[in-house]
Symmetry: C2
Subunit: 462 residues, 2 copies
């Protein structure tokens, strides 16, 4: 089809590299550079830019006119955009930020480090800086932080024909807007109603817009959080919802896809945190110090938890010395219990974010988990016991291993299922803390079970 | 504000339980039940329904009229909706599916087991069944599987006024549609152009729609996959894109938020798979056999990998018997390397899904990872070596532990960074297989490093 744009296959041989871009930079021809950029998709640009060295990045973004630079920065993720802005001279950074839409500007300013943000804000006229600062003060995942401040609002006394004439009188003023709805406000800017475009189309010209507007429309306060926003859009088919302050003054418009994007970015964040990437998104284009430091801050907590868990083994050195074969089963049982527990953690986190679970549903979760844990613990215990028997032909070793594996699986799924509920109740992030807490407890219990059971039948293991 | 709906705080005391619903069911008053359901949000309903027993579920859904049942089933996740439909008598299941929108019906039919799906389809008139089957044949994450088949299409010869009159002549026909764009087609149903509602509003009545329609509009073939669709919406600000077959015949409309939802559901799936929930979403309302079986299929692969890794320890029993303290460090080093490697896995998966990384970018990823690995490996190695020294006052033990931890961190971040690229290149799912492959290799290397280094200085460890 003629209308289908050429898409780049990520695995094909036709991918552009950053070399071409660097040649254009060396050539110094800003117009050729702008032309070249028009051929790139947002993702391609993001990838190519992330492969530039810090120096090349600065040259690239300062060569582009601010308006063009802003258009392209808009297509990057917030983390990447913030990385770019931080590297630029303050004057350039401010010029580019001025061209960004209000919500993206606030996101970027929130992500860059404090001194840079202050230096950039100092370049704006004080009134504008105050307004930007107000938008920046919203958390990125409340209505005020997600809304756009571009919207159409008219007084209620117009007719359909008058409103359409007003729009047609200056189409260029409105054609940039992503118009879904037209809002109706009173003299103080308070929201009175919402007009859908299709109702304007379907209604004769002489009818007053107050007749067809939806009164007492669904609106949200600027401080409404993402979980509630998600439910609201889940419950209503609207494409956008107006955002007001506590007095009902219309501040902006929250679009469905901004909420979907925020939810998707929350999912991505949950995934990263569950794998130990903490303190914000990591991109490999970020400075080495930040990447190593953030990962290490997490690992250094973890190594302490690990040392604590392994101290159980240290306490049972005498048992181990008699039955050295046990050392083979310690990591197996601790790792397998960790896996079983992580499965339970994942289901709890998922059910919590789908709203299927309340933080107080302890009993339900526990009952559902121990039934699974009984079956899986028995199967895994018998498998491992069989392996032990085939290796050493010692029934007691086999029994110790089977019992420890089965019991520890029960412990792991119970703790794994419940920890996310407890953390949510304490208003902590389940994706971040569940894993390490779980594995510390299951490691300790696993080591203790193997070694204490073994101690009881030690004479039979030697 | 009057317009803000009452939201339920998940942590507050005002949450409804399933008891109320069961009482209404026992009362047998269908009208009271329908009234009650109108008070619930989609998430509340999903939660309450998931807490019903299988019998209560069947009673609930068969008490409701099919149309109301479909409205409520639409608000559930596909996994939960499929679970409901599977439990119902076939006649009821078919009646409810008939009332679902085409895309949701296809999703549910794809998720339920084959025999039930066939039995349900057999209830539809053969022509309708064939059409449903065609939609069902699309994968859930290609354009055909995500599109809705409700759209407005008109011939190009109309004027703006004629088109508006036609819409106004039968507004009730269109008011159910989520109209974003109006499509212009030729006599064969081939897509010719797209009209935006705002252009209709902003253009005088006598102008022909062919003058204001966007020609050669961006459209996608029905078999376009989610990665490409995501990029397309990333690159273009459209709210919806028409979907055609290979001949350009307009088949349906793909809305931005359907793509966002599919992306979010992919993220959720990645998270679940990375934690060992494999074979589809798990909800605790699913049958025990399916839950235990799916988790176990994963765990049983894992236990084999674990036994393989631990066999390295078995090979070094003699070394361990001499220096039993080593047994304490084996799980620490294997677990910490797993953590470091998982961090690298997460960043690679994230960069792959953001499009910042191509599966061929091996060298870049490896260079970025070993620099981090050198720093973090050194820090962790020294920390653990210090702990060893404080415990046993044996410098050689401390050196063995430090070297093993540092080298294994390097190995872990290298493998962790590269495995997702390799798996993507092999068209396997990185979120699923990266973790177990990584930990098996890092466990083996970790055990080998500790025990072989220890063997070299064994006389100093005793």
């Amino acid at each position: 089809m003629a209308g289908v744009p050429e898409m780049i296959d990520p695995d094909s041989g036709t991918v552009r590299s950053s070399d071409e871009l660097i040649q254009l930079l060396d050539g110094g021809d800003a117009a050729a550079l702008v032309d070249y950029l028009h051929q790139l998709s947002g993702v391609e640009l993001a990838r190519i830019v992330s492969h530039l060295s810090p120096d090349e990045q600065v040259r690239f973004w300062t060569t582009l006119p601010a308006e063009q630079a802003a258009d392209h920065i808009e297509e990057l993720s917030t983390a990447q955009a913030a990385g770019v802005i931080e590297q630029l001279p303050v004057a350039h950074a401010a010029a580019i930020l001025e061209e960004l839409p209000s919500d993206e500007r606030a996101d970027v300013l929130n992500e860059i480090d404090e001194p840079t943000a202050e230096a950039v804000l100092a370049r704006f006229p004080s009134e504008e800086a105050a307004w930007i600062r107000r938008l920046t003060e919203y958390d990125a995942d409340v209505a005020g932080g997600l809304m756009i401040t571009e919207f159409l609002a008219f007084p209620a006394h117009l007719t359909v024909g008058e409103l359409i004439d007003e729009l047609r009188a200056a189409p260029e003023d409105y054609s940039e807007y992503e118009v879904q709805y037209i809002y109706v406000v009173d003299d103080f800017g308070r929201l009175e109603g919402v007009l859908r475009l299709r109702d304007l189309l379907l209604t004769p010209n002489q009818v007053s817009i107050s007749k067809i507007m939806l009164r007492a429309p669904v609106a949200v306060r600027d401080d409404t959080d993402l979980v509630r926003l998600e439910r609201l859009f889940d419950h209503h088919p609207f494409l956008a919802i107006p955002v007001t302050d506590a007095d009902g003054i219309l501040l902006g418009v929250l679009r469905r896809f901004d909420v979907e994007e925020a939810v998707e970015s929350r999912s991505g964040g949950e995934f990263l945190r569950s794998q130990g990437i903490v303190g914000g998104e990591e991109l490999r284009s970020m400075p080495l110090r930040r990447r190593a430091g953030r990962r290490l801050s997490w690992l250094s907590v973890n190594i302490l938890l690990n040392i604590a868990a392994a101290s159980v083994i240290a306490a049972y050195q005498d048992t181990l010395a008699v039955a050295i074969a046990l050392a083979v089963f310690l990591p197996i049982i601790s790792d397998m219990s960790g896996c079983s527990g992580n499965q339970a953690v994942a289901v709890s986190i998922r059910e919590l974010s789908l709203g299927l679970l309340l933080p107080r549903d302890y009993v339900r979760v526990w009952l559902k988990e121990i039934t699974v844990g009984l079956i899986n613990g028995a199967v895994l215990g018998l498998l491992l016991g069989l392996a032990a028997y085939l290796w050493k032909h010692n029934l007691y070793l086999s029994l110790v291993v089977t019992a420890a594996m089965a019991i520890n699986t029960l412990i792991a799924v119970s703790i794994g299922g419940l920890i996310p509920l407890l953390l949510r109740r304490l208003r902590l992030d389940p994706a971040l803390a569940s894993g390490p807490l779980l594995t510390t407890v299951t490691d300790m219990c696993g080591f203790f079970l193997v070694l204490s059971l073994a101690t009881m039948v030690l004479s039979r293991l030697a």
